[in-house]
Amino acid sequence: MKKETILPETRDTAFRDLILKTPVGEKIPTCMQCGICAGSCPVSHEMDYTPRQLVRMVQLGLKHEVLNSNTIWICTTCFSCSVRCPRGIRPTELMETLKPIAIAEGIKNKNSKFDNIFSDVVKKNGRASEFLLISKYSLSEPGMIKQAPFGLSLMSRGKLPLMPDKMEDVRELDAIFKTGEEKQEKKPESGTKENAETKAEAGEKNEGKAADTGGEAEK
């Protein structure tokens, strides 16, 4: 990885401040780059940036790199990093905080697609039917066809009922699914709107620039 200097104008301080104001953000400035999170992570070898790097990048406000990295989607939410961080930072929850922001910024990938389908199914039926999830996801992912024998083997054991399980009454769910949006709207100034404007600019400038987060040793 080629080292490049991070220029002040590539840093999006509004993005940084937005994250620092969330419950997980409070401790992020205290990260000492010890790397315990990255060392504990079972999947860091598949990530564009390890959890340690991501925390640093948030400190620096490298919005474009952070939101476009596969890191937040590769994370399996196993919490190994979070229970070990000596500073009490929860990188897991940082990933979770970044996901809806990435989605709102229009980031699309397999994971966001699956999460979207999952949320729709739960909003509509109140429960996640595995058959419904897999069949809906397969419609948009042609590669899933090779999972058909797997699906059949589950069916042969009565493990994949075709009739989706449903709540008797789903009326409350629409309101519940709005919880996330409101929490964000409540945020003072540095919120999403202003951010979206700076995004285009900062995003362009960031293009193609590797973040100097000192990751060579790990990569």
């Binding site: 229970v83 994971n111 999952f118 595995e130 493990k159």
Partner: protein, 280 residues
């Protein structure tokens, strides 16, 4: 003993075997599980907004009617635990309660079924129910979310409760360094290669330990390690042939229940050799 019971979505789908064994064993032990009426999904790890997940779980917790709420699933358990922590933020709590018909005071205690057996019912009492000491070697596999992040019930680094349970049933818990390492389940659909490689590590270590089976506490771990085991085998050209047993099935076997009653014939990795070893 009576609990409010939150089964979670998998019990009505891929974890039918888990469900059968929970029902059979808890009935026999006289622990009453009263299913929450009109329960909703906890959002697993796939409703991406954590505030929405907190709201989904709050709705469930609010319907516990003063009882502790028991759940068989590691994901549901962690979402319920995390909702309680999230609701310490008064703003979020008010906002969530604004959406619930049945308001949540933040005081329901979630318990995983393993905790119900090991702590509340007690291993000494369970030992009295053991008719057939199992005399096998078993891997105690806890997965991620049973002990993390809200580790009120067992250690997140080296938990012991499942080890102790296996021992109580007359079996030997083997030394296993991946007790709490991720199984890869959460990325199974979207990143199968990665998911299979994580499962391969766990299965390989289990094989190396000389165990007759792996014992799990979570439907997602079971799907990954049992239903996907064949895929791992063909991808890496290794034969594991490792039965994956829910802890409730293990209890049932030790209590002398039939494998069929416990749903063991629904597994994808055959369990007949294991059952033969146990001797029934």
């Amino acid at each position: 003993m009576k609990y409010s019971y939150y089964p979670g979505c998998a019990q009505h789908g891929t974890a039918i075997d888990y469900r059968m064994s929970v029902e059979a064993v808890f009935r026999r032990l006289g622990i009453e599980l009263e299913e929450v009426k009109n329960w909703n999904c906890c959002g697993a790890l796939h409703v991406p907004d954590r505030n929405v997940r907190a709201a989904l779980s709050s709705r469930t917790l609010a319907s516990a009617k003063g009882l502790d709420i028991a759940t068989p699933c590691n994901l549901c358990y962690s979402n319920l635990m995390r909702a309680n922590t999230a609701l310490e933020d008064a703003t979020l709590k008010n906002m969530i309660n604004g959406k619930l018909t049945n308001k949540y005071d933040g005081n329901t205690k979630p318990k995983h079924l393993l905790e119900v057996i090991v702590k509340d019912y007690g291993l000494a009492k369970l030992a009295e129910n053991v008719k057939k000491p199992l005399k096998i070697k078993a891997v105690p596999y806890y997965g991620c979310l049973l002990t993390r992040p809200e580790n009120k019930f067992d250690s997140p680094e080296n938990p012991k409760s499942l080890d102790n349970l296996i021992f109580t049933l007359g079996a030997e818990p083997v030394k296993y360094y991946y007790k709490t390492k991720c199984c890869g389940g959460p990325v199974l659909i979207t990143n199968e290669d990665l998911a299979l490689s994580l499962a391969k590590d766990l299965l390989g270590m289990a094989k190396e330990s000389g165990a007759d089976c792996m014992v799990v506490t979570c439907p997602m771990c079971h799907l990954q390690l049992d239903a996907k085991q064949k895929a791992v085998e063909s991808k890496y050209n290794i034969k594991f042939d490792m039965p994956i047993i829910y802890f409730t099935q293990l209890i049932g076997l030790a209590m002398g229940m039939s494998p069929k009653e416990l749903g063991l014939d629904k597994h994808l990795v055959p369990t007949d050799k294991l059952v033969a070893r146990i001797g029934r």
